[in-house]
């Protein structure tokens, strides 16, 4: 079965990871398609693999969301060795007794769904590190 990543910056190889666009001038990192660097204005970027282990810098537990979004879920910001990453915290009960600021987390993949051609889309999240 064919698998595709949910977003361009997710790489689904044997060790799934995220790839940022890093400014070759000031080293600012981005995850979206770039026009130029918002930090220094220059336009040259190189791909940079982002660390898959990190620390949960902030989170919220969303109980009320747009129609069709499964709740509750944990949305967070993970500091992956200096690069901040947005992602859900998964494979953990969505409550403040289990999810805590500063907890160690690890990138993991999350199934999104399969389209009419049988292509599976795969997203990512962060789960508690062992």
């Amino acid at each position: 079965m064919t698998r595709i990543p949910l977003v361009d910056y997710l790489v689904l190889d044997e060790e799934p990871h995220l790839v940022a666009q890093e400014c070759t001038s000031c080293a600012a990192r981005y995850f979206d398609r770039r026009s130029a660097c918002a930090g220094c204005g220059l336009t040259d970027f190189k791909p940079a693999a982002v660390a898959t282990a990190g620390v949960l810098r902030s989170f919220t537990i969303v109980h009320f969301a747009a129609e069709g979004v499964d709740v509750p879920f944990v949305a967070g910001v993970v500091d992956c060795d200096g690069t901040l990453v947005r992602g859900n915290v998964v494979n953990i009960p969505p409550d403040p007794e289990h999810v805590t600021l500063g907890m160690q987390v690890q990138l993991t993949t999350v199934p999104v769904g399969t389209d009419a051609s049988g292509v599976e889309a795969v997203g990512y999240g962060f789960e508690p590190a062992n």
């Binding site: 949910l6 600012a28 995850f31 930090g39 902030s58 009320f64 129609e67 403040p96």
Partner: protein, 399 residues
């Protein structure tokens, strides 16, 4: 050096549900109220700054067709929740530039009953994956890669402060909300004027932890407007107009400068810190001189970080500052004595002028039961996510 600009007249409608009034009715009520308060007419006004996000993009001209088509330039502006402050800045800048000696700014919104203002409902799924947008996403990201809802975004902003400095937990944020709702009981223009106990706040419906429903700003209808005037023009007006005029000692608008992570979680801190620093410099005062502050508590989690961003406390000291009681109306730096956006309400484009109305009303000594006695200097702060930050420092006219 451009000359000083003063508020000559200002008005805020009651915030809440206005079933029988449309956006134009509310905008006209605020504008006419401000003109009446100023003791001038629409023909005295040389520029109009207008803000309305949810309605017609040409709102200013529609408003003129109700209150006076005088041929003056109209600037219809949009800056998210800072739209009202931006409209006011337009009028102030026109005066400072010498193009006119009097301007009008209006912000209005009809939001009663609106739900979440962001967070995409999902498109029907099935069919074939197609990459879309600047992340090349094959499916909507809200809920899959974090949250796009405002309660969730601002919850993370407050929690990040807790991660950095410690001490910011669910109960602390709920206590901030308890304060603002307590303040609102003295404000007859607030959409909600009900006191809540800490237990009631913590046990209400959870929207995005740690923000429960009463810790979120209230969608409602409302409008606010201000007439601003050059100092030299003011000196030609009556003594009564001069006595009630409020000096705009600082007027600043900033956008968010690039910081690591600012495109992952919006950084509402750096632009507020820069706006505050510039405002204190312009006004020649420090945060210790402020008799009251209206800051942008779109969520209880946001209020905490702005104590720090506005320099009301030592860096990293917002938790201790709040726990000292400083920001209650009888404290050393009363914050959101109007009840704040959590209870007064948040009709988006009106907010950045309504907070100035609140401060100006105290400086004039006209705030009734909630008057901060002897107030001479106040600050109004607003944030529009994306981001824009407006900070105004106001001073009472010398007796």
């Amino acid at each position: 050096m451009a000359e000083n600009v003063w508020i000559l007249g200002i008005h805020m409608t009651t915030f809440g549900k206005h079933k029988d009034k449309d956006t134009l009715d509310l905008g006209a009520e605020a504008a006419l109220g401000a003109l009446q308060d100023a003791g001038v007419g629409i023909r005295d006004v040389g520029v109009l700054g207008s803000g309305n996000l949810i309605g017609n993009p040409g709102f200013g001209q529609l408003l003129q067709k109700q209150i006076g088509q005088t041929g003056i330039p109209v600037y219809n502006v949009a800056n998210a929740c800072a739209t009202g402050a931006t409209a006011l800045r337009v009028a102030i800048m026109a005066i400072k530039a010498g193009e006119t000696d009097m301007g009008l700014a209006v912000g209005v919104e009809k939001l009663a009953g609106a739900g979440l203002l962001t967070g995409n409902a999902r498109a029907a799924e099935g069919g074939h994956w197609v990459r879309d947008g600047r992340f090349g996403a094959v499916a909507p990201l809200d809920g899959r890669v974090g949250t796009e809802t405002m309660p969730g975004v601002f919850a993370q902003i407050g929690m990040e402060y807790g991660y950095t400095y410690g001490g910011a937990d669910f109960e602390l944020f709920a206590r901030i909300s308890e304060k603002n709702h307590a303040h609102s009981t003295l404000n007859p223009k607030a959409a909600y004027q009900k006191r809540f106990t800490l237990d009631q706040i913590m046990n209400d419906v959870m929207i995005a932890y740690p923000n429960t429903r009463p810790m979120c700003s209230a969608n409602c209808d409302g409008a606010a407007a201000a007439v601003v005037v050059s100092e030299s023009k003011l000196r030609t007006l009556s003594l009564e107009q001069q006595r009630r005029a409020v000096k705009i000692s600082a007027s600043v608008l900033t956008s968010d400068p690039w910081q690591e992570g600012c495109q992952v979680l919006p950084d509402i801190n750096t632009l507020t810190r820069q706006a505050a620093a510039t405002a204190y410099e312009q006004a020649g005062i420090g945060p210790g001189d402020l008799d009251l502050v209206e800051l942008h508590d779109c969520f209880a989690t946001a209020e905490l970080v702005h104590y720090d961003n506005l320099g009301l406390c030592e860096p990293g000291g917002a938790v201790d500052f709040f726990q000292s009681g400083a920001t209650w109306r009888d404290g050393s730096t009363p914050v959101n004595v109007s009840g704040g956006l959590e209870s007064k309400g948040h009709p988006v484009s009106a907010t950045g002028i309504a907070n100035i109305w609140e401060v100006a009303t105290h400086l004039r000594g006209e705030a009734g039961a909630r008057q901060i006695e002897g107030a001479t200097v106040g600050l109004a702060h607003v944030i529009g996510l994306g981001s824009a930050c407006g900070v105004h420092v106001l001073e009472r006219a010398a007796a």
